[in-house]
């Protein structure tokens, strides 16, 4: 699988798409594949403050429940209602329709580019 080069990544397998001072957040195709079919997504509430590297929700698949870590610190200004209604979007289009939430960023955590993330998952 190829990880889009215009995104940035975390070691916890989230991606962010930076746009000015906001960042759209999702999980990578690698993470979605490792989870299996996602059946429930627990997203942070609109207006909530999330902290880089800390748990801000959950992804539940057929087999397991995994913490969702925020890659950035800031205020949640948008959540993906479509993925709440249809969690399988995380599997079918993790870098697109399966995005999770948008943050007004006050601080960025440790991020890597696509090449570094490719190397990380190749070694996993």
């Amino acid at each position: 699988m190829s990880n889009p080069t215009h995104l940035q990544y975390t070691a916890e397998h989230e991606w962010i798409a930076a746009d000015g001072d906001t960042a759209r957040v999702g999980v990578t195709a690698y993470a979605a594949d490792a989870l299996g079919d996602v059946v429930y997504v627990d997203l942070p509430a609109l207006g909530a403050t999330v902290t880089a590297g800390e748990s801000c929700g959950e992804l539940e698949s057929t087999k397991s429940v995994s913490d969702l870590y925020s890659p950035v610190t800031g205020e949640v200004i948008e959540v993906n209602e479509a993925v709440d209604a249809d969690p399988s979007l995380v599997n079918s289009d993790p870098f697109g329709e399966g995005w999770l939430f948008v943050v007004k960023v006050s601080n960025t955590g440790e991020l890597m580019d696509a090449a570094a993330y490719d190397a990380l998952i190749a070694g996993a």
Binding site: D33, G36, D37, V39, Y40, E58, T62, V65
Partner: protein
């Protein structure tokens, strides 16, 4: 006997699974395919058409000799000596205190030849235990797990798929029956058994023949929408069918009576059997806790180990043993042990989902029963 090793064992079909793009998981010392694409799609295929499984991790133990039936009557809670040749029974190996060491399928291949199929996680315990319990009987007990590959075809289309590949009379092979024959020209044992709640077959063959059997089943199955199916969907299929999994619903601290499986215990065997006294006592006293089905009203699933709470008192009264979203019911389902007083269908309970209480109702097991 198998010894635990750091490197997981590969089945003879490993390369086939890898070529199909399988995700693998370590299971009881084996690297097994967990899914090939979407486990939900594989689950639905088994319910509507057919799925093809590699179950080579299962353990096989063979008993041969004039005392084989008597030895098994002594070793297990059932009465294998009464199984007809070519038939099978679900049974259990229990400890002296009645605790379950493993649940098993016992096939009678010939008058003096039985095949006992044990869980992969338990075969290293079951095989020596059967050897020890067979002492004094005229029988040879051998762990032949390495001599067998096991494939399963499960789902409503499975009989039609098999019928095109074997000279055996597939339609008249009864549920829990087994016969020796050929499949695509390869020597196999064909059993009408499974762990999915659907009609289905299990095919025992030599490991060297496994890839050829898999290929033949895949090719013939294509026209019937057979798909390769991994252990993830096997678990949700058996859960919907209300079938126990060792290590979840069954363990050393559980007797068959708690698991609603008292019917497999033949208490009045005159020659006696291991665990008889403890099991008789448990039957008379009644189970301390009972296995029930739960259907959750929320969206999140109860999972193994989550506490069950009595809403009347707020007290933790039980524990979830297995739980997952049900692809067929499209709701979260679970099995749990609860006190007998709270086990009646319709009882409203709660499950603590990582700190949040979610309502769950006790329902009759199984969650799913096939219509034909």
């Amino acid at each position: 006997m198998t010894t635990p090793s750091a490197t997981p064992r590969l089945t003879p079909l490993h390369d086939v699974h890898a070529a199909l793009g399988a995700s693998f998981t370590d299971f009881a010392g084996w690297q097994m395919p967990v899914r090939y694409g979407s486990e939900t799609a594989e689950h639905r295929a088994v319910r509507t058409t057919a799925g093809l499984f590699d179950l080579t991790h299962m353990g096989e133990i063979e008993l041969v000799g004039p005392g084989a039936g008597a030895a098994l009557d002594h070793a297990l809670v059932g009465r294998p000596s009464a199984i007809g040749v070519g038939r099978a029974r679900y049974s259990m190996l229990c400890a002296e205190d009645g605790g379950i060491i493993d649940d098993l399928v016992v096939y009678r291949l010939a008058e003096e030849h039985y095949l006992v199929v044990a869980n992969a996680s338990n075969v290293a315990v079951v095989a020596p235990e059967l050897v020890a319990r067979a002492e004094g009987f005229d029988v040879t007990v051998t762990d032949t797990s390495a001599d067998w590959a096991l494939l399963a075809v499960q789902g409503p289309a499975s009989a039609e798929i098999l019928a095109g590949l074997t000279e055996l009379d597939v339609p008249s092979l009864k549920y829990y029956a087994i016969d020796a024959g050929t499949l695509a020209g390869i020597d196999v044992l064909l059993a009408r058994t499974g762990y999915t709640g659907e009609d289905g077959f299990e095919v025992y063959c030599r490991p060297d023949d496994a890839a050829a059997v898999w290929d033949a089943l895949s090719k013939t199955g294509e026209a019937h929408d057979l798909v390769p199916a991994g252990l993830a969907c096997r678990d949700t299929l058996r859960l919907e069918a209300g079938m126990p999994l060792y290590g979840h619903e069954l363990d050393r601290d559980t007797t068959p009576y708690e698991a609603n499986l008292g019917r497999v215990v033949v208490l009045d065997k005159p020659e006696g059997f291991v665990g008889q006294a403890a099991l008789a006592k448990r039957k008379e006293e009644g189970p301390r806790r009972v296995l029930v089905g739960l259907v959750s009203t929320g969206r999140r699933s109860p999972r193994a180990g989550y506490p069950v709470v009595d809403p009347a008192s707020g007290a933790e009264v039980g524990i979830v043993t297995s739980g997952s979203p049900s692809p067929t019911l499209e709701r979260p389902i679970a099995m749990a042990y609860v006190p007998p007083a709270l086990a009646a269908p319709g009882t409203r309970l709660q499950v603590s989902l990582r700190g949040t209480l979610e309502d769950a109702d006790v329902v009759e097991l199984p969650f799913y029963k096939r219509t034909s």
